[in-house]
Symmetry: C2
DNA sequence: GCCGCCTTGTGAAAATCTTCACAATATTAG
DNA sequence: CTAATATTGTGAAGATTTTCACAAGGCGGC
Protein backbone atom coordinates (compact mmCIF):
# COMPACT_ATOMS: atom_id res chain seq x y z
CA UNK A 1 0.00 0.00 0.00
CA UNK A 2 2.60 2.57 1.03
CA UNK A 3 2.96 5.08 -1.78
CA UNK A 4 6.63 5.83 -2.35
CA UNK A 5 6.76 9.60 -2.28
CA UNK A 6 10.10 11.24 -2.55
CA UNK A 7 10.43 13.76 0.22
CA UNK A 8 13.02 16.40 -0.51
CA UNK A 9 16.03 17.01 1.67
CA UNK A 10 14.80 20.50 2.51
CA UNK A 11 11.34 19.29 3.44
CA UNK A 12 12.83 16.84 5.94
CA UNK A 13 14.96 19.64 7.31
CA UNK A 14 11.88 21.74 7.83
CA UNK A 15 10.10 18.89 9.61
CA UNK A 16 12.91 18.84 12.16
CA UNK A 17 12.51 22.56 12.53
CA UNK A 18 8.77 22.26 13.06
CA UNK A 19 9.32 19.65 15.73
CA UNK A 20 11.67 21.96 17.58
CA UNK A 21 9.08 24.75 17.39
CA UNK A 22 6.37 22.45 18.67
CA UNK A 23 8.55 21.45 21.59
CA UNK A 24 9.02 25.11 22.44
CA UNK A 25 5.25 25.57 22.26
CA UNK A 26 4.73 22.54 24.50
CA UNK A 27 7.00 24.06 27.11
CA UNK A 28 4.95 27.26 26.83
CA UNK A 29 1.88 25.13 27.61
CA UNK A 30 0.26 25.97 24.28
CA UNK A 31 -2.50 23.62 23.17
CA UNK A 32 -2.90 24.62 19.55
CA UNK A 33 -0.97 26.38 16.84
CA UNK A 34 -1.76 27.59 13.32
CA UNK A 35 0.41 27.14 10.26
CA UNK A 36 0.66 30.92 10.32
CA UNK A 37 2.31 30.95 13.72
CA UNK A 38 4.62 28.06 12.87
CA UNK A 39 5.81 29.96 9.83
CA UNK A 40 6.47 33.03 11.96
CA UNK A 41 8.79 31.05 14.19
CA UNK A 42 10.63 29.43 11.31
CA UNK A 43 11.85 30.93 8.09
CA UNK A 44 9.01 29.73 5.88
CA UNK A 45 5.49 30.56 4.84
CA UNK A 46 2.26 29.21 6.23
CA UNK A 47 1.51 27.53 2.91
CA UNK A 48 4.85 25.76 3.04
CA UNK A 49 4.14 24.46 6.51
CA UNK A 50 0.78 23.09 5.42
CA UNK A 51 2.18 21.55 2.25
CA UNK A 52 4.99 19.87 4.15
CA UNK A 53 2.61 18.37 6.67
CA UNK A 54 0.13 17.34 4.01
CA UNK A 55 2.79 15.07 2.52
CA UNK A 56 2.18 12.77 5.46
CA UNK A 57 -1.48 13.20 6.25
CA UNK A 58 -3.93 15.79 7.46
CA UNK A 59 -3.21 16.56 11.03
CA UNK A 60 -5.06 19.82 11.61
CA UNK A 61 -8.64 20.98 12.03
CA UNK A 62 -9.97 23.72 9.79
CA UNK A 63 -10.62 26.95 11.57
CA UNK A 64 -8.75 25.70 14.61
CA UNK A 65 -5.20 24.74 13.76
CA UNK A 66 -3.04 21.87 14.93
CA UNK A 67 -2.94 20.24 18.33
CA UNK A 68 0.58 20.92 19.53
CA UNK A 69 1.16 17.67 21.40
CA UNK A 70 -0.48 15.55 18.72
CA UNK A 71 1.47 17.11 15.88
CA UNK A 72 4.74 16.82 17.80
CA UNK A 73 4.05 13.14 18.29
CA UNK A 74 3.31 12.63 14.63
CA UNK A 75 6.47 14.42 13.57
CA UNK A 76 8.52 12.35 15.99
CA UNK A 77 7.08 9.24 14.42
CA UNK A 78 7.72 10.51 10.89
CA UNK A 79 11.33 11.37 11.75
CA UNK A 80 11.86 7.99 13.36
CA UNK A 81 12.11 9.41 16.87
CA UNK A 82 9.48 7.08 18.29
CA UNK A 83 12.13 4.47 18.96
CA UNK A 84 15.69 4.18 20.18
CA UNK A 85 18.59 4.11 17.71
CA UNK A 86 21.76 2.29 18.63
CA UNK A 87 24.73 4.40 17.67
CA UNK A 88 28.47 3.78 17.63
CA UNK A 89 31.04 6.55 17.70
CA UNK A 90 34.20 5.94 15.72
CA UNK A 91 36.96 8.41 16.55
CA UNK A 92 37.44 9.40 20.16
CA UNK A 93 38.99 12.75 19.33
CA UNK A 94 37.92 16.35 19.76
CA UNK A 95 34.63 16.19 17.89
CA UNK A 96 33.89 12.75 19.22
CA UNK A 97 34.30 13.82 22.80
CA UNK A 98 32.12 16.90 22.33
CA UNK A 99 29.39 14.71 20.88
CA UNK A 100 29.52 12.02 23.53
CA UNK A 101 29.40 14.50 26.37
CA UNK A 102 26.51 16.33 24.77
CA UNK A 103 23.16 15.23 26.12
CA UNK A 104 21.06 16.35 23.18
CA UNK A 105 21.34 13.11 21.24
CA UNK A 106 20.32 10.80 24.04
CA UNK A 107 17.25 12.96 24.64
CA UNK A 108 16.11 12.32 21.09
CA UNK A 109 16.60 8.58 21.24
CA UNK A 110 20.09 8.21 19.86
CA UNK A 111 21.96 5.96 22.29
CA UNK A 112 25.70 5.78 21.96
CA UNK A 113 26.40 2.15 22.84
CA UNK A 114 30.03 1.82 21.78
CA UNK A 115 33.08 3.98 21.12
CA UNK A 116 36.04 3.02 18.93
CA UNK A 117 39.48 4.42 18.26
CA UNK A 118 42.75 3.10 16.90
CA UNK A 119 45.04 5.02 19.23
CA UNK A 120 46.40 2.60 21.83
CA UNK A 121 46.64 5.40 24.38
CA UNK A 122 42.87 6.02 24.09
CA UNK A 123 41.69 2.42 23.93
CA UNK A 124 40.63 1.36 27.38
CA UNK A 125 39.73 4.85 28.62
CA UNK A 126 36.33 5.21 30.25
CA UNK A 127 34.06 7.67 28.50
CA UNK A 128 30.81 8.23 30.34
CA UNK A 129 30.27 4.61 31.26
CA UNK A 130 31.69 3.19 28.05
CA UNK A 131 35.13 1.79 27.50
CA UNK A 132 36.86 3.00 24.33
CA UNK A 133 37.46 -0.09 22.20
CA UNK A 134 39.97 -0.86 19.51
CA UNK A 135 38.63 -0.34 16.00
CA UNK A 136 39.63 -3.92 15.25
CA UNK A 137 36.77 -5.08 17.44
CA UNK A 138 34.25 -3.08 15.44
CA UNK A 139 32.48 -5.83 13.53
CA UNK A 140 32.12 -8.10 16.51
CA UNK A 141 30.94 -5.44 18.93
CA UNK A 142 28.74 -3.60 16.45
CA UNK A 143 26.78 -6.69 15.56
CA UNK A 144 26.60 -7.85 19.18
CA UNK A 145 25.25 -4.40 20.10
CA UNK A 146 22.96 -4.17 17.05
CA UNK A 147 24.47 -0.87 16.00
CA UNK A 148 22.51 0.76 13.18
CA UNK A 149 24.08 4.20 12.97
CA UNK A 150 27.75 5.17 13.04
CA UNK A 151 29.10 8.61 13.82
CA UNK A 152 32.36 8.92 11.95
CA UNK A 153 34.69 11.46 13.56
CA UNK A 154 38.08 10.39 12.24
CA UNK A 155 40.68 12.04 10.00
CA UNK A 156 40.20 11.73 6.24
CA UNK A 157 43.22 9.42 5.91
CA UNK A 158 41.65 6.89 8.24
CA UNK A 159 38.38 6.72 6.33
CA UNK A 160 39.11 3.91 3.85
CA UNK A 161 40.34 1.42 6.42
CA UNK A 162 37.57 2.23 8.89
CA UNK A 163 34.92 1.96 6.18
CA UNK A 164 35.92 -1.63 5.56
CA UNK A 165 34.94 -2.50 9.09
CA UNK A 166 31.79 -0.43 8.91
CA UNK A 167 30.66 -1.95 5.62
CA UNK A 168 31.15 -5.47 6.84
CA UNK A 169 29.18 -4.82 10.01
CA UNK A 170 25.99 -4.03 8.10
CA UNK A 171 25.49 -0.54 9.49
CA UNK A 172 22.49 1.28 7.95
CA UNK A 173 23.36 4.96 8.39
CA UNK A 174 26.45 7.11 8.84
CA UNK A 175 26.84 10.64 10.15
CA UNK A 176 30.14 11.68 8.65
CA UNK A 177 32.33 14.50 9.93
CA UNK A 178 35.34 13.77 7.74
CA UNK A 179 35.49 16.14 4.77
CA UNK A 180 35.42 13.46 2.11
CA UNK A 181 32.80 11.66 0.06
CA UNK A 182 32.18 8.23 1.52
CA UNK A 183 31.79 5.22 -0.74
CA UNK A 184 29.13 3.06 0.79
CA UNK A 185 27.26 -0.07 -0.28
CA UNK A 186 23.82 0.34 -1.82
CA UNK A 187 21.22 1.10 0.79
CA UNK A 188 23.44 2.74 3.38
CA UNK A 189 22.39 6.32 4.13
CA UNK A 190 25.03 9.00 4.69
CA UNK A 191 24.71 12.53 6.01
CA UNK A 192 27.70 14.81 6.04
CA UNK A 193 28.39 17.50 8.59
CA UNK A 194 30.91 19.87 7.16
CA UNK A 195 31.54 23.01 9.13
CA UNK A 196 34.21 24.30 6.80
CA UNK A 197 31.65 24.34 4.02
CA UNK A 198 29.25 26.33 6.15
CA UNK A 199 31.97 28.87 6.84
CA UNK A 200 32.69 29.01 3.14
CA UNK A 201 29.04 29.69 2.41
CA UNK A 202 29.28 32.52 4.93
CA UNK A 203 32.36 34.09 3.43
CA UNK A 204 30.83 33.65 -0.03
CA UNK A 205 27.79 35.63 1.08
CA UNK A 206 29.92 38.35 2.64
CA UNK A 207 32.17 38.58 -0.42
CA UNK A 208 29.15 38.92 -2.67
CA UNK A 209 27.94 41.87 -0.60
CA UNK A 210 31.33 43.49 -0.90
CA UNK A 211 31.43 42.93 -4.63
CA UNK A 212 28.04 44.52 -5.11
CA UNK A 213 29.10 47.76 -3.57
CA UNK B 1 28.52 46.60 -13.62
CA UNK B 2 28.22 43.51 -11.43
CA UNK B 3 25.03 41.69 -12.34
CA UNK B 4 23.26 40.59 -9.21
CA UNK B 5 22.65 36.91 -9.80
CA UNK B 6 21.13 34.91 -7.04
CA UNK B 7 23.23 31.85 -6.47
CA UNK B 8 21.37 29.07 -4.75
CA UNK B 9 22.42 27.62 -1.44
CA UNK B 10 23.05 24.26 -3.04
CA UNK B 11 25.16 25.72 -5.82
CA UNK B 12 27.44 27.37 -3.25
CA UNK B 13 27.65 24.09 -1.42
CA UNK B 14 28.76 22.38 -4.59
CA UNK B 15 31.40 25.02 -5.23
CA UNK B 16 32.97 24.17 -1.88
CA UNK B 17 32.87 20.54 -2.89
CA UNK B 18 34.54 21.26 -6.21
CA UNK B 19 37.28 23.18 -4.46
CA UNK B 20 37.97 20.22 -2.19
CA UNK B 21 38.14 17.93 -5.22
CA UNK B 22 40.52 20.28 -6.99
CA UNK B 23 42.75 20.35 -3.94
CA UNK B 24 42.87 16.57 -3.98
CA UNK B 25 43.76 16.68 -7.66
CA UNK B 26 46.48 19.24 -6.96
CA UNK B 27 48.03 16.92 -4.41
CA UNK B 28 47.91 14.15 -7.02
CA UNK B 29 49.89 16.48 -9.30
CA UNK B 30 47.11 16.56 -11.86
CA UNK B 31 47.23 19.47 -14.31
CA UNK B 32 43.80 19.29 -15.88
CA UNK B 33 40.40 17.86 -15.15
CA UNK B 34 37.14 17.51 -17.07
CA UNK B 35 33.67 18.26 -15.79
CA UNK B 36 33.08 14.56 -16.27
CA UNK B 37 35.78 13.60 -13.79
CA UNK B 38 34.73 16.25 -11.29
CA UNK B 39 31.21 14.88 -11.36
CA UNK B 40 32.55 11.38 -10.76
CA UNK B 41 34.25 12.53 -7.58
CA UNK B 42 31.24 14.42 -6.30
CA UNK B 43 27.62 13.42 -6.34
CA UNK B 44 26.57 15.45 -9.37
CA UNK B 45 26.52 15.35 -13.13
CA UNK B 46 29.01 16.83 -15.54
CA UNK B 47 26.37 19.23 -16.82
CA UNK B 48 25.75 20.45 -13.29
CA UNK B 49 29.43 21.11 -12.77
CA UNK B 50 29.63 23.13 -15.96
CA UNK B 51 26.43 25.06 -15.20
CA UNK B 52 27.64 25.90 -11.72
CA UNK B 53 30.97 27.18 -12.98
CA UNK B 54 29.35 29.07 -15.85
CA UNK B 55 27.50 31.20 -13.30
CA UNK B 56 30.80 32.91 -12.63
CA UNK B 57 32.59 32.86 -15.97
CA UNK B 58 34.08 30.45 -18.43
CA UNK B 59 37.11 28.86 -16.92
CA UNK B 60 37.70 25.85 -19.15
CA UNK B 61 39.03 25.14 -22.61
CA UNK B 62 36.92 23.14 -25.02
CA UNK B 63 38.30 19.72 -25.77
CA UNK B 64 40.78 20.06 -22.95
CA UNK B 65 39.02 20.65 -19.65
CA UNK B 66 39.92 22.89 -16.73
CA UNK B 67 43.34 23.79 -15.41
CA UNK B 68 43.30 22.39 -11.89
CA UNK B 69 45.38 25.10 -10.21
CA UNK B 70 43.68 27.91 -12.08
CA UNK B 71 40.18 26.70 -11.31
CA UNK B 72 41.05 26.14 -7.65
CA UNK B 73 42.28 29.72 -7.47
CA UNK B 74 39.13 31.05 -9.06
CA UNK B 75 36.91 29.07 -6.71
CA UNK B 76 38.88 30.31 -3.73
CA UNK B 77 38.30 33.84 -4.91
CA UNK B 78 34.59 33.23 -5.50
CA UNK B 79 34.19 31.71 -2.04
CA UNK B 80 36.02 34.60 -0.42
CA UNK B 81 39.05 32.49 0.47
CA UNK B 82 41.54 34.83 -1.17
CA UNK B 83 41.75 36.86 2.01
CA UNK B 84 41.87 36.38 5.76
CA UNK B 85 38.69 36.51 7.83
CA UNK B 86 38.86 37.63 11.42
CA UNK B 87 36.76 35.34 13.55
CA UNK B 88 35.71 35.40 17.19
CA UNK B 89 34.59 32.32 19.07
CA UNK B 90 31.87 32.84 21.64
CA UNK B 91 31.45 29.89 23.98
CA UNK B 92 34.59 28.15 25.19
CA UNK B 93 32.82 24.84 25.78
CA UNK B 94 33.04 21.42 24.18
CA UNK B 95 32.28 22.41 20.62
CA UNK B 96 34.25 25.62 20.95
CA UNK B 97 37.36 23.81 22.08
CA UNK B 98 37.13 21.22 19.28
CA UNK B 99 36.87 24.04 16.76
CA UNK B 100 39.73 26.10 18.12
CA UNK B 101 42.09 23.15 18.28
CA UNK B 102 41.17 22.12 14.77
CA UNK B 103 43.61 23.40 12.18
CA UNK B 104 41.30 23.21 9.19
CA UNK B 105 39.85 26.69 9.60
CA UNK B 106 43.15 28.52 9.84
CA UNK B 107 44.31 26.77 6.68
CA UNK B 108 41.40 28.24 4.78
CA UNK B 109 41.95 31.78 6.01
CA UNK B 110 39.66 31.89 9.02
CA UNK B 111 41.72 33.31 11.87
CA UNK B 112 40.32 33.01 15.34
CA UNK B 113 41.48 36.25 16.95
CA UNK B 114 39.43 36.25 20.16
CA UNK B 115 37.57 33.83 22.42
CA UNK B 116 34.79 34.76 24.82
CA UNK B 117 32.92 33.04 27.60
CA UNK B 118 30.85 34.11 30.59
CA UNK B 119 32.09 31.46 32.98
CA UNK B 120 34.49 33.07 35.45
CA UNK B 121 36.40 29.81 35.78
CA UNK B 122 37.16 29.83 32.04
CA UNK B 123 37.89 33.52 31.59
CA UNK B 124 41.63 34.02 31.74
CA UNK B 125 42.53 30.52 30.52
CA UNK B 126 45.03 30.38 27.68
CA UNK B 127 43.68 28.66 24.56
CA UNK B 128 46.33 28.23 21.90
CA UNK B 129 47.89 31.62 22.37
CA UNK B 130 44.65 33.44 23.11
CA UNK B 131 43.29 34.41 26.50
CA UNK B 132 39.62 33.60 27.03
CA UNK B 133 37.89 36.91 27.66
CA UNK B 134 34.72 37.83 29.44
CA UNK B 135 31.73 38.22 27.15
CA UNK B 136 31.25 41.71 28.62
CA UNK B 137 34.33 42.81 26.71
CA UNK B 138 32.91 41.63 23.41
CA UNK B 139 32.04 44.94 21.77
CA UNK B 140 35.29 46.59 22.69
CA UNK B 141 37.54 43.70 21.69
CA UNK B 142 35.58 42.74 18.58
CA UNK B 143 35.79 46.21 17.12
CA UNK B 144 39.42 46.64 18.14
CA UNK B 145 40.18 43.30 16.43
CA UNK B 146 37.95 44.01 13.41
CA UNK B 147 36.02 40.81 13.91
CA UNK B 148 33.73 40.09 10.98
CA UNK B 149 32.55 36.55 11.71
CA UNK B 150 31.38 35.08 15.00
CA UNK B 151 31.19 31.38 15.80
CA UNK B 152 28.42 30.97 18.32
CA UNK B 153 28.88 27.85 20.43
CA UNK B 154 26.77 28.64 23.48
CA UNK B 155 23.65 27.11 25.00
CA UNK B 156 20.29 28.22 23.61
CA UNK B 157 19.42 30.07 26.83
CA UNK B 158 22.46 32.31 26.48
CA UNK B 159 21.65 33.32 22.92
CA UNK B 160 19.49 36.43 23.51
CA UNK B 161 21.93 38.16 25.85
CA UNK B 162 24.96 37.30 23.74
CA UNK B 163 23.23 38.48 20.57
CA UNK B 164 22.87 41.94 22.06
CA UNK B 165 26.63 42.23 22.25
CA UNK B 166 27.09 40.72 18.82
CA UNK B 167 24.54 43.00 17.16
CA UNK B 168 26.07 46.10 18.66
CA UNK B 169 29.56 45.16 17.52
CA UNK B 170 28.60 45.23 13.85
CA UNK B 171 29.54 41.65 13.06
CA UNK B 172 28.72 40.62 9.47
CA UNK B 173 28.34 36.86 9.67
CA UNK B 174 27.52 34.21 12.27
CA UNK B 175 28.12 30.48 12.29
CA UNK B 176 25.57 29.28 14.77
CA UNK B 177 25.71 25.97 16.63
CA UNK B 178 22.85 26.68 19.02
CA UNK B 179 19.66 24.94 17.90
CA UNK B 180 17.56 28.08 17.65
CA UNK B 181 16.67 30.60 15.00
CA UNK B 182 18.74 33.73 15.49
CA UNK B 183 17.16 37.14 15.11
CA UNK B 184 19.72 39.34 13.44
CA UNK B 185 19.73 42.85 12.02
CA UNK B 186 19.26 43.27 8.27
CA UNK B 187 22.38 42.41 6.37
CA UNK B 188 23.92 39.98 8.84
CA UNK B 189 24.41 36.50 7.33
CA UNK B 190 23.75 33.42 9.45
CA UNK B 191 24.57 29.78 8.80
CA UNK B 192 23.37 27.12 11.17
CA UNK B 193 25.17 23.91 11.98
CA UNK B 194 22.71 21.52 13.49
CA UNK B 195 23.93 18.00 14.00
CA UNK B 196 20.74 16.82 15.63
CA UNK B 197 18.87 17.71 12.47
CA UNK B 198 21.31 15.71 10.40
CA UNK B 199 20.78 12.72 12.62
CA UNK B 200 17.04 13.20 12.29
CA UNK B 201 17.37 13.23 8.52
CA UNK B 202 19.25 9.97 8.85
CA UNK B 203 16.68 8.28 11.04
CA UNK B 204 13.95 9.61 8.76
CA UNK B 205 15.63 7.93 5.79
CA UNK B 206 16.04 4.67 7.69
CA UNK B 207 12.46 4.73 8.93
CA UNK B 208 11.19 5.28 5.40
CA UNK B 209 13.08 2.20 4.23
CA UNK B 210 11.54 0.18 7.02
CA UNK B 211 8.08 1.45 6.21
CA UNK B 212 8.41 0.52 2.56
CA UNK B 213 9.08 -3.09 3.30
C1' DG C 1 45.39 23.62 -43.65
C1' DC C 2 42.04 20.27 -42.91
C1' DC C 3 39.95 16.49 -40.34
C1' DG C 4 38.61 14.13 -36.40
C1' DC C 5 38.22 14.10 -31.63
C1' DC C 6 37.21 15.87 -27.27
C1' DT C 7 35.01 18.76 -23.97
C1' DT C 8 33.14 23.20 -22.87
C1' DG C 9 29.33 26.60 -22.49
C1' DT C 10 24.60 27.27 -22.85
C1' DG C 11 19.79 27.69 -24.64
C1' DA C 12 15.72 24.89 -24.11
C1' DA C 13 13.16 21.22 -21.94
C1' DA C 14 12.06 18.70 -17.96
C1' DA C 15 11.66 18.13 -13.23
C1' DT C 16 11.16 19.80 -8.78
C1' DC C 17 9.91 23.01 -5.30
C1' DT C 18 7.35 27.03 -3.57
C1' DT C 19 3.66 30.18 -3.51
C1' DC C 20 -1.02 31.42 -4.48
C1' DA C 21 -5.71 31.34 -3.84
C1' DC C 22 -9.81 29.43 -2.54
C1' DA C 23 -13.29 25.73 -1.56
C1' DA C 24 -14.11 22.90 2.37
C1' DT C 25 -15.17 22.74 6.93
C1' DA C 26 -14.84 23.17 12.01
C1' DT C 27 -16.06 26.47 15.71
C1' DT C 28 -18.35 29.95 18.05
C1' DA C 29 -21.84 33.52 18.75
C1' DG C 30 -26.34 34.88 18.47
C1' DC D 1 -30.38 26.86 13.23
C1' DT D 2 -27.86 30.49 10.70
C1' DA D 3 -24.23 33.56 10.10
C1' DA D 4 -19.69 35.07 10.82
C1' DT D 5 -15.02 33.77 11.39
C1' DA D 6 -10.90 31.16 11.25
C1' DT D 7 -7.76 28.11 9.22
C1' DT D 8 -6.85 23.84 6.86
C1' DG D 9 -5.80 21.03 2.66
C1' DT D 10 -4.80 21.19 -2.02
C1' DG D 11 -5.08 21.91 -7.11
C1' DA D 12 -3.00 25.12 -10.17
C1' DA D 13 0.31 28.66 -11.26
C1' DG D 14 4.77 30.37 -10.83
C1' DA D 15 9.65 30.08 -9.81
C1' DT D 16 13.75 27.73 -9.50
C1' DT D 17 16.91 24.07 -10.32
C1' DT D 18 18.54 20.28 -12.91
C1' DT D 19 19.17 17.74 -17.00
C1' DC D 20 19.51 17.36 -21.93
C1' DA D 21 21.52 17.96 -26.16
C1' DC D 22 24.27 20.14 -29.31
C1' DA D 23 26.78 24.00 -31.58
C1' DA D 24 31.18 26.17 -30.79
C1' DG D 25 35.92 25.90 -30.17
C1' DG D 26 40.53 24.16 -29.29
C1' DC D 27 44.13 20.66 -30.18
C1' DG D 28 46.82 17.05 -32.38
C1' DG D 29 47.90 14.36 -36.34
C1' DC D 30 48.72 14.07 -40.96
N1 LIG E 1 37.57 19.45 15.31
C1 LIG E 1 36.84 20.20 14.51
O1 LIG E 1 36.45 21.28 14.86
C2 LIG E 1 36.52 19.75 13.12
C3 LIG E 1 35.90 20.65 12.27
C4 LIG E 1 35.58 20.25 10.97
C5 LIG E 1 35.86 18.96 10.56
N2 LIG E 1 36.46 18.10 11.40
C6 LIG E 1 36.71 16.75 10.94
O2 LIG E 1 36.23 15.80 11.86
C7 LIG E 1 37.09 14.67 11.90
C8 LIG E 1 37.56 14.48 13.33
O3 LIG E 1 38.18 15.66 13.78
P1 LIG E 1 38.79 15.81 15.23
O4 LIG E 1 39.15 17.23 15.36
O5 LIG E 1 37.88 15.21 16.22
O6 LIG E 1 40.11 14.94 15.08
P2 LIG E 1 41.00 14.31 16.23
O7 LIG E 1 42.34 14.11 15.64
O8 LIG E 1 40.86 15.09 17.48
O9 LIG E 1 40.31 12.91 16.47
C9 LIG E 1 40.35 11.88 15.53
C10 LIG E 1 40.34 10.57 16.30
O10 LIG E 1 40.24 9.51 15.37
C11 LIG E 1 41.14 8.49 15.81
N3 LIG E 1 41.51 7.65 14.69
C12 LIG E 1 42.46 7.85 13.75
N4 LIG E 1 42.52 6.81 12.90
C13 LIG E 1 41.60 5.93 13.31
C14 LIG E 1 41.20 4.65 12.85
N5 LIG E 1 41.74 4.09 11.78
N6 LIG E 1 40.23 4.02 13.52
C15 LIG E 1 39.67 4.58 14.59
N7 LIG E 1 39.99 5.79 15.07
C16 LIG E 1 40.96 6.44 14.45
C17 LIG E 1 42.32 9.23 16.39
O11 LIG E 1 43.04 8.38 17.26
C18 LIG E 1 41.63 10.35 17.12
O12 LIG E 1 41.29 10.01 18.43
C19 LIG E 1 38.23 14.99 10.95
O13 LIG E 1 37.97 14.38 9.72
C20 LIG E 1 38.17 16.48 10.79
O14 LIG E 1 38.62 16.90 9.53
C21 LIG E 1 36.78 18.48 12.69
N1 LIG F 1 28.51 19.34 22.00
C1 LIG F 1 27.84 18.90 20.96
O1 LIG F 1 28.16 17.83 20.46
C2 LIG F 1 26.71 19.64 20.38
C3 LIG F 1 25.94 19.02 19.40
C4 LIG F 1 24.89 19.73 18.81
C5 LIG F 1 24.62 21.01 19.22
N2 LIG F 1 25.36 21.58 20.18
C6 LIG F 1 25.04 22.94 20.57
O2 LIG F 1 26.19 23.73 20.56
C7 LIG F 1 26.14 24.69 21.60
C8 LIG F 1 27.36 24.56 22.46
O3 LIG F 1 27.45 23.23 22.91
P1 LIG F 1 28.60 22.71 23.85
O4 LIG F 1 28.41 21.25 23.96
O5 LIG F 1 29.91 23.23 23.40
O6 LIG F 1 28.20 23.38 25.24
P2 LIG F 1 29.10 23.64 26.52
O7 LIG F 1 28.18 23.75 27.66
O8 LIG F 1 30.21 22.66 26.56
O9 LIG F 1 29.75 25.04 26.20
C9 LIG F 1 29.02 26.22 26.18
C10 LIG F 1 29.93 27.33 26.64
O10 LIG F 1 29.22 28.56 26.53
C11 LIG F 1 29.52 29.32 27.69
N3 LIG F 1 28.48 30.32 27.90
C12 LIG F 1 27.29 30.16 28.53
N4 LIG F 1 26.62 31.32 28.56
C13 LIG F 1 27.41 32.24 27.97
C14 LIG F 1 27.29 33.63 27.72
N5 LIG F 1 26.18 34.30 28.06
N6 LIG F 1 28.31 34.25 27.11
C15 LIG F 1 29.40 33.58 26.73
N7 LIG F 1 29.58 32.27 26.94
C16 LIG F 1 28.59 31.61 27.56
C17 LIG F 1 29.62 28.32 28.80
O11 LIG F 1 30.36 28.87 29.88
C18 LIG F 1 30.35 27.18 28.11
O12 LIG F 1 31.73 27.31 28.22
C19 LIG F 1 24.87 24.43 22.34
O13 LIG F 1 23.87 25.30 21.90
C20 LIG F 1 24.51 23.02 21.96
O14 LIG F 1 23.13 22.82 21.95
C21 LIG F 1 26.41 20.92 20.77
Amino acid sequence: MSIVRKISESAVHRLSLYLRILEDLESEQRETVSSEEMSGRSATTAAQVRKDLSLFGSFGKRGWGYDVADLAGRLRKILGLDRQWRVALVGAGRIGSALVEYGGFGERGYDVVAIFDSDASKVGEKWGGLRVRDIGEFEEVASEQSVEIVILAIPVEAVPSVMEHVDRAGVRGILNFAPTKLKVPEGVAVKDVNMVMELEALSFALSQEDGER
